[in-house]
């Protein structure tokens, strides 16, 4: 390896080059209205901060946190749209803060950021999403068929993998749960598991190796019938999962086949239960 030439002052060259670039970026002040408060009570607080080209809402929120409001509560992790931590309502729309660019929002009005409204409020932009973590274990876990090969492995067609990949992209940001009117407006959390977990159930039901049958629980315990396909969840999904058309509707069809098919019921009675 040839040694890179020594730079005087030896700030690493990469950082130095970046600093020069940063100086040339367009800057400007921008107004933000952030929800502050705890346990449901709160109000918008106004902040102004310097923004530059390419900044996302999360950058501005973090900058305000570092410079003006050290105790501003906000969740984030990857900052690249892969972990689903920084869900919020930005200008009234459910979005990930890390994937919402400031230059895509109207420049002539303040950017408002509020917590997700379908979940109990904790503090500032943070809500209690623990209900979601209690729902998932209620769904029958993955149950594979016996291995295909003597070495304990399976043979799967790439097309069968791709069919469920869409559902497995889910980053569990819970924005779909946030907009679902069954949860948000009617608070039927005890009777309905919400779009996220219907997608999860679909991923299991359509998994090429899975042999469990979740149709009965989907109808009886998870309230799939409550979904009336308004597609609000699909519209807000940052992973662009076609939640209603590709996951919920096919699940509804399976459930209907199972429950309102007298001939099939007779066959099942004779031959025992079978996966579709």
């Amino acid at each position: 390896m040839t040694a890179p030439a020594s730079a005087p002052g030896a700030v690493d060259a990469y950082t130095a080059a970046q600093a020069v670039q940063d100086a040339s970026v367009g800057h400007g002040a921008r107004s933000f209205r952030l929800w502050r408060g705890a346990d449901g009570s709160g109000a918008f607080t106004d902040y102004t901060t310097e923004v530059n080209e390419g900044m996302v809402v999360l950058d501005a929120v973090q900058q305000i946190q570092a410079e003006q409001a050290n105790d501003l509560a906000v969740r984030w992790n990857c900052k690249a749209g892969k972990c689903g931590s920084c869900s919020a309502e930005i200008n009234g729309k459910p979005k990930l803060m890390c994937m919402t660019r400031l230059d895509d929002l109207p420049a002539d009005e303040p950017v408002t950021v509020e917590p997700m409204r379908a979940f109990p409020h904790v503090r500032d932009l943070v809500t209690d999403v623990s209900w979601n973590f209690r729902v998932k274990p209620r769904i029958q876990p993955f149950t594979p068929r016996a291995p295909d090969a003597p070495d304990g492995t399976w043979r799967i067609d790439q097309r069968d993998v791709e069919r469920v990949q869409e559902f497995r992209k889910c980053i569990e940001c819970f924005l779909c749960q946030d907009v679902c009117h069954v949860l948000r407006d009617h608070h039927l959390h005890d009777e309905f598991i919400g779009p996220r977990f219907l997608v999860y159930a679909a991923a299991l039901e359509m998994h090429p190796l899975d042999v469990a049958d979740r149709r009965s629980e989907l109808k009886e315990d998870f309230g799939i019938g409550y979904c009336n396909i308004t597609k609000c969840c699909t519209k807000v999904c940052p992973e662009h999962i076609t939640i209603t058309d590709n996951a919920i509707i096919p699940l509804k069809e399976r459930v209907v086949d199972r429950h309102f098919d007298p001939l099939g019921a007779l066959v099942r009675l004779v031959r025992g239960p079978r996966k579709p």
Partner: protein
């Protein structure tokens, strides 16, 4: 007297990324009570960001592959400072761990005959990385999470460990606080597994999130355990650099695995200009041969873009320093060029690299099927960590185990891409098994209540201080600037000595920070508490790097640019000295068994 809730577990796992979850599943399988503590919500840990794949010699794509080749590749990549026992176990056990993941529901991309598909990656001789497009980490963490929630494991989400507690010499538990309400929680446990990940937040430019503040490293160090190889930090060659707000975000090595090439401002593929001696025989000597390799031609050798990460990162720095960089201070990574070779190239790229396509489109306004990306190095991973026994993963403190990124040994001086996800699985499993065994055979623990009270007072001090002092974010930023500028990709003694001085004064500043507000979900308070850990790992990195007067793997010294055989036979180990200061020693690497030495010799050709 501090108020706190006491929770008892047989085994406590700190961290819920791939390593922590795999460890917890294993420990719970033996019927013990297992608790997992994680700083964020379940499923958000950094494993989610891993893109390229998990390395395992399944030999599904190239039947010349075997654990022996994987072992030799890992040792060569680590410049032979690796714990050879860990490298051996890792190579032998990774295939079983990957297959087990499939049995738990993970769906990897497939070969034509329906087996797990494997892709090329830097430093791996044959296509070895099982993957799911470019979101393998998400598939892995979700599979472990969804499997783990049915295994009776108690998960304590958004809970941060402040200190480990000991009963005499052995581990006795951990003292922690929950983020939501800021209440203290005391965990009593007969065995503790640290799986806390890395230290990226010690640097300004990093692919790591706020969580990666060296917690496991520092907690172990403060509990009397030894750290090892702390000078070896991996600067991933391809991070985003533009716009400024996305700087540091990872661009997967998979882009190069799929045929992406690096070019400088003049359009030249500079990676051909300097190929290290020990990789020359395996590297393509023409662009044509490199392309054939990425397309699966078994007779072709790998393109120089797929050399190890340390080398690629330094080559990029060289181009920038010598004035051949891109407009924003990096170089170009181009995958769009494959349209000259493949019909439907745009569709192919979107299918193989969907999250990269999405990431650049959304955050930078760049269509990677049409244009080159601008990239530069970003702090990504630390090879160094808690010194552990290769078989059991136990640290030098009885009952304290470590696995994943926070443990040292497997990767030596440089980690190969894809060896991290397999590391999590192999050593997560081993740590879980051995911690459970230790816990079963250990007597109940006693906690020193005085020690807990003292720790609680320390944690609350930032609220009690007089106003007027600075906040935690300013101190964190100063530390990041110090480490980035003085202990980064290119290091010199002069710069690092300066860094040590700055770290000393930052310790004073950290002890004076003031936090507004109260204990409820207060990120300012959390940042203040993380500072102690960041300062410890920064000092350990700097002291170890200063003492290694050579260049090897991820550690490059401008004042000692060559590899030096005198530094080949030992690891640097850091511990707390009797006077409380950090002590550095050289620990010789034990001789390798003849069988392993023979493999390395055989694979050198």
């Amino acid at each position: 007297m501090a108020e706190y809730q006491t929770v008892d577990h047989d085994v406590l796992v700190v961290g819920a990324g791939g390593a922590g979850l795999r460890a917890a599943i294993e420990a719970a399988a033996s019927g013990l009570s297992v608790g997992v503590v994680c700083k964020s919500l379940l499923g958000k840990a950094h494993t989610v960001m891993a893109e390229g794949g998990v390395a395992a010699a399944l030999a599904n794509v190239d039947d010349r592959d075997s654990w022996r080749v994987h072992f030799a590749d890992t040792m060569r990549g680590g410049q032979y400072l690796n714990n050879w026992r860990m490298a051996e176990l890792h190579a032998r056990e990774a295939p079983a761990r990957v297959r087990e993941l499939e049995a738990w529901g993970a769906l990897f991309d497939r070969t034509a005959d329906g087996r797990i598909l494997q892709r090329n990656f830097g430093g791996h001789r044959y296509p070895r990385l099982a993957h799911v497009g470019d979101r393998t980490g998400l598939e892995m963490i979700r599979t472990l999470q969804d499997h783990g929630i049915h295994k009776g494991i108690d998960v304590h989400m958004e809970c941060t460990v402040l200190t480990l507690l000991r009963d005499g010499e052995r581990i006795a538990g951990a003292f922690a606080y929950d983020r939501e309400r800021g209440r203290f929680r005391l965990f009593r446990a007969r065995a503790v597994i640290l799986a806390t990940g890395g230290v990226g937040r010690a640097f300004s430019i990093t692919s790591n999130s706020w969580e990666y503040t060296g917690d496991g490293h520092a907690l172990a160090y403060l509990a009397g355990a030894a750290l090892q190889d702390m000078e070896f930090v991996q600067f991933h060659p391809t991070g985003m650099i533009w716009p400024p707000s996305v700087r540091g975000i990872l661009v997967t090595e998979g882009v190069r695995g799929e045929g992406g090439v690096l070019r400088n401002r003049d359009g030249k593929r500079f990676m051909f200009e300097d190929i290290p001696e020990n990789y020359r025989a395996q590297t393509a000597d023409s662009e044509e041969e490199g392309w054939r390799y990425t397309q699966g031609d078994k007779d072709a050798r790998r393109p120089p873009e797929l050399l190890t990460r340390d080398h690629v990162a330094r080559m990029i720095v060289r181009e920038v320093k010598e004035g051949r960089g891109s407009p924003h201070g990096g170089v170009y990574l181009d995958i769009s060029w494959i349209k000259e070779r493949l019909p439907n190239a745009a569709e192919h790229i979107r299918k193989k690299l969907p999250s990269m396509y999405h990431q650049f489109m959304q955050l930078a306004g760049i269509d990677i099927t049409k244009e080159a990306m601008e990239i530069g190095p970003t702090t990504h991973y630390i090879m160094g960590g808690i010194r552990v026994d290769g078989d059991t993963q136990m640290s030098t403190v009885p009952g304290l185990f470590a696995c994943g990124e926070c443990a040292a040994g497997l990767h030596g001086a440089n980690r190969l891409g894809g060896n991290s996800l397999s590391d999590l699985l192999v050593f997560g499993q081993r740590a879980g098994e051995h911690a459970a065994r230790f816990a079963r055979n250990a007597a109940a623990v006693t906690i020193d209540a005085g020690e807990v009270d003292e720790e609680a007072s320390r944690a609350l001090a930032p609220f009690a201080r007089a106003s007027g002092a600075e906040g935690p974010y300013q101190v964190q930023e100063s530390l990041q600037t110090t480490m980035q500028n003085h202990v980064g990709i290119v290091r010199t003694a002069h710069e690092m000595e300066r860094a040590l001085g700055e770290i000393e004064s930052l310790k004073q500043r950290a002890d004076r920070v003031v936090v507004p507000g109260n204990r409820e979900f207060n990120p300012g308070w959390h940042t203040a508490l993380d500072l102690r850990h960041l300062l410890i790992v920064s000092e350990a990195i700097t002291r170890s790097a200063l003492a290694r007067k050579e260049s090897r793997g991820g550690h490059f010294r401008d004042d000692f640019p060559e590899k030096d055989a005198a530094f080949a036979g030992f690891n640097h180990v850091t511990r707390t000295g009797a006077d409380g200061t950090m002590q550095l020693t050289r620990e010789p690497i034990p001789a390798m068994p003849a069988e392993l030495a023979a493999i390395i010799k055989e694979m050198q050709s």
